[in-house]
Symmetry: C2
Subunit: 155 residues, 2 copies
């Protein structure tokens, strides 16, 4: 069992993808701790976060923005409708499309929950210099370009 693995070596801690996933998980856990007591799941959170900026997007547009498969998106949005956070409205000019609108309750959650998101970001970046924050943003942006972010979303 002690026999060393042959072939290439690529330790987890060397992997930028692994570090990204773990840091993303740390954020998600911090957000979850604040929103769960308010009856909002992390899945709902990602949709709310976008709808607060752009109400009325179609289900497909939301699916693409969040990079979630469309069936998963549809299920999540039905749950959000049951929870009275959004209304799903069949598009009158294109019957294949469904537009998603915040309810008053969904919209009102913004002022309750958004301060937590900002606070978590401030906590996360405490002690990080402005230069390093700029570098962090620059590297992530370059990575998304390099990986062709969203290239296959139209498929």
């Amino acid at each position: 069992m002690d026999e060393k693995t042959p072939g290439i070596s690529f330790p987890l801690e060397d992997s930028a993808g692994y570090l990204l996933r773990m840091t993303h998980r740390s954020f998600a856990r911090a957000v979850q701790a604040e929103i769960t007591p308010r009856g909002v799941t992390i899945g709902m959170w990602y949709f709310l976060r976008i709808l607060w900026e752009e109400d009325g997007l179609t289900q497909r547009e939301l699916s693409q923005r969040i990079e979630m498969m469309e069936p998963t998106t549809a299920t999540a949005l039905r749950n959000m409708e049951e929870r009275n956070l959004v209304r799903r409205v069949r598009n009158t000019t294109d019957k294949r499309k469904v537009n998603i609108y915040l309810t008053d309750e969904g919209r009102a959650l913004r002022d309750v929950l958004l301060p937590y998101a900002r606070q978590i970001n401030e906590t996360a970046l405490a002690g990080v210099s402005a230069e390093d924050v700029a570098c962090f943003r620059r590297v992530l942006s370059q990575m998304r370009v390099n990986l062709g972010a969203g290239d296959d979303e139209e498929a």
Copy 2:
């Protein structure tokens, strides 16, 4: 509808958490494109990646490393057992524990799949200076400390 939202403003693109999630998604999509044709899901991938380094961890340890809920971990590992990638073995000294061991097939996948992971990381970091890569690692590490990575994993 054009009425500006009251309260605090915190645009998505300003959010480090959002940028992390989207970049993580770009990585996950790139990995998925390589492993799916080989019958490995992204859920299985995270476990394989760890087991290739530390075979025989318990289900709970794996759950903690991956930051996945234990019931979700249990389901994923049962799927991996059906797929003949791992064996789940009841710990003889502590019956509450289940150790997870790679099968020959699971172990052999390492040399097939790991080169893709390394290639995707190289692609992602193309054109990023060594200083910026170091900064990226430093910032992510600080974020995980600040957010108390894994603080509640023992719960």
